[in-house]
Symmetry: C2
Subunit: 290 residues, 2 copies
Amino acid sequence: LLGLCGAAGMAIAASSAGTDLVTLQQAAATLKSTRPTAVDLGHAIDRALQLAASVDEHARADALWDLCEAMLREQAESDAALGRHGASLLAGNVLTHCNTGPLATGAGGTALAAIIEAFRSGRLERCFATETRPLLQGARLTTWELQQAGVPVTLLPDTAAASLIRSGEVTAVMTGADRIAANGDTANKIGTSGLAIAAAYAGIPFYIVAPTTTVDLHGPDGAAIPIEFRNAAEVGGFGGLRWSPGGVDAYNPAFDVTPAALIAAIVTERGIARPPYRESLLAFVDGGGS
Amino acid sequence: LLGLCGAAGMAIAASSAGTDLVTLQQAAATLKSTRPTAVDLGHAIDRALQLAASVDEHARADALWDLCEAMLREQAESDAALGRHGASLLAGNVLTHCNTGPLATGAGGTALAAIIEAFRSGRLERCFATETRPLLQGARLTTWELQQAGVPVTLLPDTAAASLIRSGEVTAVMTGADRIAANGDTANKIGTSGLAIAAAYAGIPFYIVAPTTTVDLHGPDGAAIPIEFRNAAEVGGFGGLRWSPGGVDAYNPAFDVTPAALIAAIVTERGIARPPYRESLLAFVDGGGS
């Protein structure tokens, strides 16, 4: 969805601010700076810029709106493939984190597409969804999307994930990704790395489901991934409700990096990458692979 | 504090419901059933029952109130000793979970007593406090108590704990305990085991600070510890605010069990127990040891 929004932002800029390349380059820089961790946003904006530079100035706005529609169709096809590949890894009950459904991608979703497909094909019984503090995407969005899809869902506090994983109730943990480095280190919603560590401790697999556009081969490993830190006000309350005293500092990174060594597989729309990721991801991202 | 409340509950029962032993035994059973995981509650109630049985019926109510005052004095001495022993393990920054301060024990606290003592003695710079969903004791109580004590405090979502631990910003994780089995397996607030697993992964020590009354030598290991499951309504909202859709099931255990193998030390008021805990705890609980 960030990529689609980036492309739409470029089309809006061309329609309202101007179609000269300097204006579009300024719009691109502004749009990119809004979410430094996610790689899909930058990819889509670069694609829009290249398209704009390749057509006459008077045709740029139409071309950028056509690009948005093409990207929506591509997204639907990619998400359906992610769902099919990811579903093949699931059985019994799964735990997921944050929101990775239609509300997150604009089409079928990533990890949630796989979870819904696994339920529909009879492989999966139930999805456990973390609340995902501080913005509660799991409690607000994932529960709702799974209800809409008819998948039995159980909500849990983020604090309960480790004991659930150790209880034997779930056979796998599956999440999306915001950026995957060339070695497989993966940035995703804050809390993901803790789930991966708990899964490794319990001996159950941890899976990433993400399109190849999320893979950043220019980033060698997780240390090179910029992490967005967000407003302290998101911690210590929610919405209009405050539950912590005033004047308290907060540590509020939006993402964390899960080491590749904790990831059993990275599911892409082109197939399932297994360790070592430096080779398996390269094959998919370069257009090779299954 | 649960122990003090249990003793006070017995004194209240004797003052209001009756001082015959059958009435007091019924009160004891009711009070014990309110919190099945915490062992301090049962210890205190058994102590009150034994005292009641050892004095004449007309003297029982006064004796039980005297017991409450004696237990408050004992608590203050015990917490002060916990603070001294626990502080010796800390340096730099520490991460804690839930609330273990004066509001939790009625006197100085357990882990928080150690953290405050370590700050006052110049060993500690800052305490990171988890929000501790679903009841947010860390966000509501621990931040406030540390502010009152003048200790610099940073609040974080539970989801951010694993990345903070891996960042090198904290040198240790220190929490309290609700029940410690004979082998050192420890039940504490939900989320504790996830922190201990993350600390082990990052190679920093995880410490428990709890009085010897928390040790249940009759419980051989964590599998024997009963875990209280709480109302699903606590998940998916807080206070009057709801953020998840209706009709969602919830997984809401109040406690989890941290395996003894993940615990670097168990700090008691009688000294610091190190693995193997079956021997080291026995020495302290039987009244031996330093």
